[in-house]
């Protein structure tokens, strides 16, 4: 009997998972497959880029600076033992471009913007603002979901680029200004190692994929949250947990495809 119960529970979980993915797919389809409205859509998009992108900028830039500095400091103490401290540039730049830039930005984005999106949507749902749009013959998917999704998709790659740029600068500060690596050598070795297609384009691809996934999860969790305080707080937690796990798993997959 216990056995059957466990199997039933497993089945229920699987069904729920499939249903959730179906709902999320339908939501995104409804939001994105629309004739674009330039005049009415643009102000909504700008406002959401402000909420999602501009307001995440400070945390991303500050984190990028510190992570670049820490990376350089740790790298330096190891490299100096082999007399190869001039390779600090590629170490910092490549770690940031290939992994830390897109991944850490996505994690910060999930915590800062993703959870806010979920909470906002949950609140709009519980105060019947979404129903109210429906009754005013305005599609909430187009009015509410679509601009937020596009804003996430545009903002996160830009944030990743800022993260990496500031991180490399942080590495430069520690390596050159503090530890005294030769300025010219730092840049020339770095430039020889970093490549446009392999490193920068892949960084952008990763970051667009993460943006898609994190924004999608955040919007889905909010849009389908149980409309009460408990439901919203649970949805917000789920957004952060599921986005982070999805980003880390996808990062492994993408890294294997790109560099494996």
């Amino acid at each position: 009997m216990h056995m059957i119960d466990s199997i039933t529970a497993l089945g229920a979980r699987a069904i729920n998972l499939v249903r959730g993915m179906g709902q999320a797919g339908i939501m995104l389809w409804g939001a994105l497959v629309q004739v674009p409205r330039v005049k009415k859509g643009t102000p909504l998009l700008i406002k959401q880029i402000y909420v999602v992108g501009v307001q995440s900028m400070i945390i991303v830039v500050v984190s990028g600076l510190f992570i670049g500095m820490v990376l350089a400091l740790q790298g330096y103490t190891i490299l100096v033992d082999f007399g190869t401290e001039q390779s600090l540039g590629p170490l910092v730049a490549l770690s940031l471009l290939r992994e830390l830039g897109p991944v850490v930005t996505a994690l910060l984005f999930a915590g800062r913007a993703g959870s806010a999106l979920t909470a906002e949507l949950g609140l709009m749902k519980s105060t019947e603002q979404l129903s109210s749009l429906e009754m005013m013959a305005v599609d909430p998917l187009r009015q509410v979901i679509a601009p937020r999704f596009w804003a996430g998709l545009i903002s996160m790659p830009l944030l990743s680029l800022m993260f990496v740029a500031v991180g490399v600068y942080g590495g430069y500060l520690v390596g050159v200004s503090w530890k005294g690596i030769d300025d010219g050598a730092f840049w020339s070795i770095l430039q020889a190692a970093v490549e446009w297609r392999q490193d920068i384009v892949n960084c952008l691809i990763k970051s667009v994929v993460f943006a898609w996934v994190v924004t999608w999860i955040s919007l889905y969790r909010g849009y389908h949250s149980t409309p009460n305080p408990e439901g919203i707080s649970r949805a917000t937690t789920q957004t952060v947990v599921q986005s982070s796990l999805a980003v880390l798993a996808l990062d492994f997959l993408l890294t294997a495809l790109m560099f494996g």
Binding site: K40, L123, T127, E128, Q129, S132, E134, M135, M136, V138
Partner: protein, 307 residues
């Protein structure tokens, strides 16, 4: 533009006077509490036929039918938790029934394509219990929202319409405030201004009086009544506030236990001797609707052995 607007306004006021002049029309006296159709002279704007709706395994409505006449205030009353809001959402097409149909002006709401449904919804609007004002816009933009979405009117005219609607609910001075800066009653009035911005034919009111202080309640009662008369709106009021509802409704349906247990004019309801209805109208704690949630016998449970 200017001219046509003035004309439109004049139409309104003239319609309002017309409406007031025949306000003392006779409500056709009819056999109350029979299942026979209402022999109404007015045409029904909304017809609900044999509707059945359930949430999971819980049946909310079992085979209910009702008619909402054009240009009248129809009230739907009943105890809390019987899904009166659900009924409004069924009428608005936000929920789909298991069985039966909802006709809005002859069209089956749940068989319409999405575009046709949206067209139908432009002719109705709903005042939500919470007001449901958009929290990221000020009151003015809230009221202007539907106009900006659906009408191609220039901004100058939209501004005038919005100010007139706000004036009608007494909130012109609050146009630039955010919804969070308003009291509950004012939020609901602002939402009312938004609901009538597009001049709909029908307004659905979801519990408009719940949680209001006596003054706000009085204001809302007066507003609903006046707006219905002035714009010759079809109003559907869902509520459990007996005295307020009876004071403004032209016709009342009382729902309990998944069915319509009574309907008639307010007068007829007050004089009814149906015990279930009496308990609801007089607000008695115990009666056909029991005070106690169904349970085992009290004595047995107190004295019984623990298992």
């Amino acid at each position: 533009m200017q001219l046509s607007w003035d004309e439109r306004e004049w139409n309104h006021s003239s319609r309002a006077t017309l409406q007031k002049s025949d306000a003392n029309f006779k409500i056709p006296v009819q056999d109350f509490q029979t299942d026979s159709d209402m022999s109404q002279e007015q045409t029904a704007l909304v017809e609900v036929n044999n509707l059945r709706f359930s949430r999971g395994s819980r049946v909310i409505y079992d085979d209910i039918s009702l008619k909402i006449p054009k240009g009248k205030v129809t009230a739907i009353m009943g105890p809390s938790g019987i899904g009166k809001t659900t009924l409004l959402k069924l009428i608005g097409g936000q929920l789909t029934p298991d069985k039966g149909e909802v006709l809005f002006d002859g069209q089956n709401i749940h068989k319409l394509s999405r575009n046709a449904l949206f067209e139908a919804r432009k002719r109705m609007s709903m005042l939500f219990q919470s007001g449901a004002l958009f929290t990221d816009m000020n009151v003015f933009d809230n009221v202007a929202f539907a106009l900006r979405e659906h009408s191609e009117l220039p901004e100058a005219i939209i501004r005038r319409i919005v100010l007139m609607k706000l004036q009608a609910v007494g909130l012109r001075g609050a146009a630039q405030l955010m919804p969070s800066e308003l009291s509950g009653g004012m939020q609901r009035r602002a939402a009312l201004a938004r609901a009538i911005a597009l001049e709909p034919e029908m307004v659905l009111y979801d519990e408009p009086f719940t949680g209001q202080d006596p003054i706000s309640m009085g204001v809302l009662v007066k507003l609903i009544k006046d707006l219905s008369d002035a714009l010759s709106l079809t109003s559907v009021v869902v509520s459990h506030d007996v005295s307020e509802v009876l004071s403004i409704a032209d016709y009342v349906y009382v729902i309990a236990e998944q069915r319509i247990i009574a309907h008639g004019t307010p007068q007829q309801l007050r004089q009814s001797d149906n015990p279930q209805l009496r308990q609801f109208i007089d607000g008695e704690p115990d009666g056909p609707v029991p005070f106690h949630f169904p349970a085992d016998a009290y004595k047995e449970e107190l004295l019984g052995a623990h298992d």
